[in-house]
Subunit: 469 residues, 2 copies
Amino acid sequence: MKTNYKLKKTVNLFIYSFLLTTLVSAQNVDERQFQKIYETALSEGKAYDWLNYLSNQIGGRLSGSIQAQQAVDYTKLQLDSLGLDRVWLQPVMVPKWVRGTPEFAYFETTPGVTTNVPITALGGSIATPQKGIKAQVVEVQGIGDLAALGEAGIKGKIVFYNRPMDPTLINTFSAYSGAVDQRGSGAAEAAKYGALGVIVRSMTLRLDDFPHTGGLRYGDLPKEEWIPAAAISTNAADLLSTTLKLNPDIKFYFKQNCKQFDDVQSYNVIGEIKGSTHPEEYIVVGGHLDSWDLGDGSHDDGAGCVQSMEVLRLLKKTGYTPKRTIRVVLFMNEENGLRGGRKYAEEAQKKNENHIFALESDAGGFTPRGFSFDSPEADFERTKAWQKLFEPYLVHMFITGGSGADIGPLKNDSIVLAGLRPDSQRYFDYHHAANDTFEQVNKRELELGAAAMTSLVYLFDTYGTVAPE
Amino acid sequence: MKTNYKLKKTVNLFIYSFLLTTLVSAQNVDERQFQKIYETALSEGKAYDWLNYLSNQIGGRLSGSIQAQQAVDYTKLQLDSLGLDRVWLQPVMVPKWVRGTPEFAYFETTPGVTTNVPITALGGSIATPQKGIKAQVVEVQGIGDLAALGEAGIKGKIVFYNRPMDPTLINTFSAYSGAVDQRGSGAAEAAKYGALGVIVRSMTLRLDDFPHTGGLRYGDLPKEEWIPAAAISTNAADLLSTTLKLNPDIKFYFKQNCKQFDDVQSYNVIGEIKGSTHPEEYIVVGGHLDSWDLGDGSHDDGAGCVQSMEVLRLLKKTGYTPKRTIRVVLFMNEENGLRGGRKYAEEAQKKNENHIFALESDAGGFTPRGFSFDSPEADFERTKAWQKLFEPYLVHMFITGGSGADIGPLKNDSIVLAGLRPDSQRYFDYHHAANDTFEQVNKRELELGAAAMTSLVYLFDTYGTVAPE
């Protein structure tokens, strides 16, 4: 068959150049919106001021505490001032664990000479008897060592978990994952062999004097078999380990009077801009408002909260009208229960809200390096093509992987979940410790994170997700 | 012509698979060497301990000071202990500028009420008269504003340069470049219009109370026309600016008694591993040993020095035998003269040493993001292909651009110059100020930089540079 080849070619060329123009101009629009977002974030950002208040006027915000409630009130008030379409509190019952008076620990470095060492009760731990626990110590490199020691080696003793985080891993979260079972399950496992208590090396790569708290789980262990557990600073862990090598029979003493109370009322804080053309599709950006009680929770996760609030402010400030409904959710109780994340997903399902994208920031307020995506494959391929837009802003890493604990319960076959991935090197220096404070957050790094998040939310709002087949 | 097609195909396949195997195995060798370097750097690094000594036992190391000499002695001793083939001091005469007693400044916030403000003399500035200078202030946004004001607006006054670094630029070094002419040339330019002195807003993006020093140049201005210049903290600059808006006639007072002495003897510190197969080709890695006097010079550039020393230690420690001659050079006097860099290049030329690659670390001890290369085009294309090897270590940026001030004098048509590019967000928070201290350096970030540098030096040593056509 003969065709008018020349005409076809011309038409093809026309279509091609039309498509190209459209593509190029769409890209230019995206580039311009990115630029507006970044310029606004870096020259008139609000995240740092919000964080200053959360950290320095309120402080550590453990679930069920007065400070947690103050944080709910403060962030709602701030969201109210942004001119969003709706701001509300979503009730959720949360566990209430209280540390009580400061923990106390010492051991004999030389017979008759004791040294006090910094410890902190693990979140959810029971108290020691009022007079404390004094017992011999058995040092292990992990839960796997217990079976060989058996009851003969463990009963009546304190188990000291001392496997450090692996410093050779580049991503410190991988090093954390490789060590944190000692904190999470060490007490429950040691209890099965008759241990009296557990001391865990702090989950940090630094050698310093800060003990790092964090949740433990007793699992299905009967309550009467629970034993108390505390974290010890890395410097003190090294001192204890050396002392045990010289004299394996020394005794370790610790005392803590933490306590679990009945669940109390608390809230997720939610703000929303209603979508202009697809209001029935929901995009969520969030962090968790609760924190541990030792520091002021600036990196974990005050930073993620104020960045998420800033996303909605930046969208408005740059004059962008979202097509879809965009929500900021400040989740309550990530640290010791995840009740807020579960409640939010439960309510979303009840109301049949179609969540297409959720983004969490819960890895510190450091320079953003990229995002990790937990998403259907086609969507990840499409998303990965957006990486180019981020490169001028030195955001290079678009990888598959986890997203965030609070948005996890939203997972289904079609939603795209994502997590901001800031530089991880300093994170565990402060994580769950008394030095997680406002001074450790750099204003620009925090703002760059908020700008990167806003830019990604903008793209998902503009282009939606890939329709499931 | 008929050929035995099948045989040819087989031979081709054979050659192809041979080449592929060779390529793949070369890549595997590189990957394994990278892994060894990183693991050693992160698990048994020395850089942090060296920096601790340089910063906390010696402190700020201004050219010509006792501390600079102590730093020469200390680093030579440390290099001596590494079992290199040769360690020596390269004599170089350096300028000696001394700050003298602490500077003092105040202005009237309300008539009759004065406020003291933090200032620091700019490096190389002359002193004020002994009784100080008290004069009206004319605020400008840059050198470009002077002509319009003319002698009528400037003569007998203090010129206050207050253009801030641009916070919307992602790379803070670009923001620095866009503002630093005020510090470098502001005094010489204002003097031409009869100004009595100059006050410059500190070169930092933070709002705080630290004045940041740094060099100025009087250029070809006759010595009798030189005027004193100082930097003022950003908080104080904002206070002064607001005060001037309310009352343009207030007077500013400042006093400083800094002084330039005759040049004194100093040294570059050099260590060398002799090449096993191409000893006549030289690779240099370095930083500058001198620093300003306000802090302890941990980021600028203690970090670069200890990382460079660590490069040679890591090569040895990982059992790598360099083909080419590898030198660490700790340059003296980058901050106010560049005499060390010039002397090293001069001596290299005299001895006809063929330098093929030089790498400097002088942008802080923060998480490495990449390298910038000043190199012949073919070499950059080849180098860029190596970027893939660095990605598992989260080093993503291979760009063209500047390298380092000290290695600049080595530039010729064939050498590849490179600079480590760490994350830049925090750098100017500390740069040339009293808070550039050891506490601001993170051990892992410092070590990751040393590992990235070592890996790049390994590649250039193994593969050389592209031969000039």
